[in-house]
Each structure stands twice: as C-alpha cells, then as structure tokens.
Amino acid sequence: MDSKANNERLDELFRSKLETFETLAGDRAWEKLQKAQRPASRFPAPTRWIAAAVVAGVCLAAGFWFGIEREEEAMLTAADAPVRKENTGRLEEKEKAAPAENGIQAVVSEHERKDETAQTMAAEEKREKEVVVSSRKGSGAKDSVSPPVELPQPVPSDSGKLNTPVGATGEPATRVLVVYVTPVPLDETPAMEKEPEIVAQAAAVEEAPVKKKRGIQRFFKQLRNAKTGEKVDWEELGLSPQKTYANVETPVGSRQQHYQKKGN
C-alpha cells in the first residue's frame, strides 16, 4: 500500500507541476506555421511581379496602338466627307463594293479626284458651247443660265460687218465662226459650277469638333512624325523651345537683378 500511495504522490507531483507550465516556443514557430499553411506557389514572388508588369505593358501598348489607328480612321473619314457628298450615288456603290480599308479608301478618293477633274473639263467644254450659243444669239441672250462672261470684242472688219468672211457675197455659203476663248482659271468658274453645297460641306467639316487627343497619344503621334521625317509640332506636346530657352534665361537675369538690388 505504501508503494501505491508513493506512486500516487509522485504522479500528483508531476501532474500538478506540469499542468499549467508553459514552455516558450521559438520565435519562428508562428512563421513556420504560416508558411506551412500557405500553399506553395509555383513561381517565386519576383517572377510573378515581372510577369504582371509585362502583361500590363503589352495591354497598354495594344491600347495605344488601336487608339492611334482609330484616330487615323476618323481623320480619313473626315477628309473624305465632302467628296462623298459630291458623288453621292457612285461613291455609295463603291463603298458597298469595296471593303472599308485605308488603302482602298485612298484609291477610291484618287478615283474621285479624277472624276472631279473630268467634271471640271466637261464644265469648261459646256461653257465654251454656251459662249458659242450666246455669240450666236447675241449679247442679250437671256435663256442662258450662266452668268455673263466678258467676251472679247469682235474685231471690226473693213466692211463694217461682223465677222463677215472676206469672200462673202451674200450667198448662203459656209460661215466661219471665230471664237475667242479666254482661259479662265478654275477658281473663277461660274457660281453654278462650284456647287455651293460643297462649300457648305467643307465649312461643316472645318467646324466639326476635333476630338481632343490624350497626352500620350499626342506624344506618340509627334514621335511618329519625327520618325517619318515630318515636322514635329512642339506646341501640341505642350512644349515651346523658345519658351524653354526663355525660362532658362529668366532666373539668371532675375538673380542678377536681385543681387544688384541687394548690393545697392
């Protein structure tokens, strides 16, 4: 019985002493626990950051690129607008037939310019004909729609008759009509041929609100200009070389003035 009691006392001693005893765990125990809880990543942290940065950079570059392309499209569309109005019917047919690509659009516009030239030439011919008609009918002809054009005065012949052939004898022989054509520049073409509608359209195009470009887009545009050898518009970038030089010089002068004042 003594040994049993002795054992119980020993057990009690150890149990009571250890019940509330705390052994300090190492400082790294919690860190170890956190590391063990976290699933191991396939890539180390720096690699992940680099990958994220590369993806972001590619997205930004793509965004700028598409932004510039859209801008170019918008500019081309704005430039084509009056021509379209001029040749409405034919251009619509062309647009239906051809895909809306920049290169093809450029070709179409060239064709339109040729058409325009042809039309101008046709108008000149028409005017010449009208001049002939007016000369036949006399200066007071009112059926012509075209505004009066100053015609060269007929050269009076010795006989005092208008353009009467030298060998004319009053018989109904062949008449020779001499037409004095004064070359008129395209700008001085009659108002009817200019088609005022187009003028109005052009004005509308000029007044159309130009989309304000973003700073980086403007920068890229000027960069592209510099690359292609075109003129770089510093004002668009918000930089003025003259101003910059002026700014550089300004503090020097002001400082000198400041020192001078101080010296006085």
């Binding site: 001693l13 150890f14 149990r15 250890l18 005893f21 052994t23 765990a25 125990a29 809880q37």
Partner: protein, 199 residues
C-alpha cells in the same frame, strides 16, 4: 494583441472564428496555447527543436480539424490530445517507442511535500527528458494524460503488461531523480530518512 483578445472574449466566439478560418483567431489561439502545447511536445519528444516542429504540425491539424470539435468537452483537452497524437506519430515514425533500458529499482523515497514546494516545473521537465523513451511515453500517457494501460497498449501497439512494467520502472527512476535533487538542494535530513526507510 489586446485588441484581438477583446474581439474573442469567449472561447465559443474564438472557436466560431477558427471555423471561419479567421487569421486573427488562429494567431490568438497560437499565442494563448502554444506554451502549454509546447510543454506537452517536449515531454514526449525530449528535444526542443523537434518539439517545435511537432507543435507546428499539431496546430495545423487543429486549424484543419476545428470543425470536428463538438464542444462537448474541454477545448484545451481536445487540442492536447491532438498534440499527443502528433508526438506519438513522430515517435512511431522514428521506431523508437519500443526502446527499453534496464534501470535499477528505486531505493530512495523522496519527501514529496518538500518537492512540491520547491521543485520547479522546468526541473521536472528535465527529469522526464532524462527517462528512456519507452518509460517516458508510458509515464506521460498514464500519469499525466490519464490514459489507462489498455488505451496505452492500443496506442503504442504494446501489451498491457509491458505498459505496466514500463510505468513501474519510470516511476522508480523518477523517484531516484527527485531524491537526488533533494539531496543536492540541501534537504539532507529528509533524504537520509527516506534512505533509511528504504533500507
């Protein structure tokens, strides 16, 4: 830390937060119980570095298995049981559970009253660490955790008689150590008495 303690003033709230895998609750649980659980691990393993690894493993298991706690018994007891199982699993892996050593029978009976008053827990831990692994494990399981010999036999894969004999030898060894401690600490009279009694 104080703020976290305010958040989980009751154990039920803490357990609920642990079930929701709240990192603050996990930190609080670790801060609150890591010391006691570390003591459990050191008692079984005897090596602080290894005990720390077992502590980490044990807490991971606690966080994962918190939903299985039914709130019928003591939460600390449930955690302690997990730590003990982890320590035993480690010892089983090491195949050191059946290590045995023939120790001499105890001849001296210490003065438990004096030891109770003056013997520090850290010295008790050191005494347990000195025990051979088999003795230590059975003593821990029987005397401190309160398992029966049948349970210990099942847990360690040994017979009940082996468990009993190992416990007997562990006790004898510890008595010798406590008696020696008393002699070294200056309680000579009691030690002499106990020695004369044993003779």
């Amino acid at each position: 830390m104080g703020k976290i303690l305010q958040l989980f003033s009751h154990e039920t709230q803490l357990i609920r937060a642990l079930r929701a895998r709240d990192p603050k609750a996990q930190r609080l649980l670790f801060e609150k119980f890591s010391g006691r659980m570390m003591t459990v691990c050191v008692r079984y393993v005897g090596d602080r570095m290894t005990a720390e690894d077992i502590l980490v493993q044990g807490f991971m298991k606690i966080f994962d298995a918190i939903s299985q706690f039914r709130e019928e018994g003591s939460f600390e007891g449930w955690m302690r049981r997990i730590m003990v199982n982890e320590a035993l699993a480690f010892l089983r892996q090491q195949r050191r559970l059946l290590e045995n050593a023939d120790l001499a029978e105890a001849h001296s009976i210490p003065d438990y009253q004096y030891a109770d008053e003056h013997l520090h827990a850290s010295e008790i831990i050191r005494m347990i660490e000195k025990l051979p692994l088999g003795y230590r494990t059975v003593f821990n399981l029987y005397a401190i955790e309160g398992f029966t010999h049948m349970e210990i036999a099942k847990m360690l894969g040994i017979t009940e008689s082996t468990s009993k004999s190992q416990l007997h030898r562990a006790r004898a060894s510890l008595q010798e150590m406590v008696a020696k401690w008393e002699a070294d600490s200056g309680n000579g009279t009691n030690l002499n008495d106990s020695l004369s009694k044993s003779i």
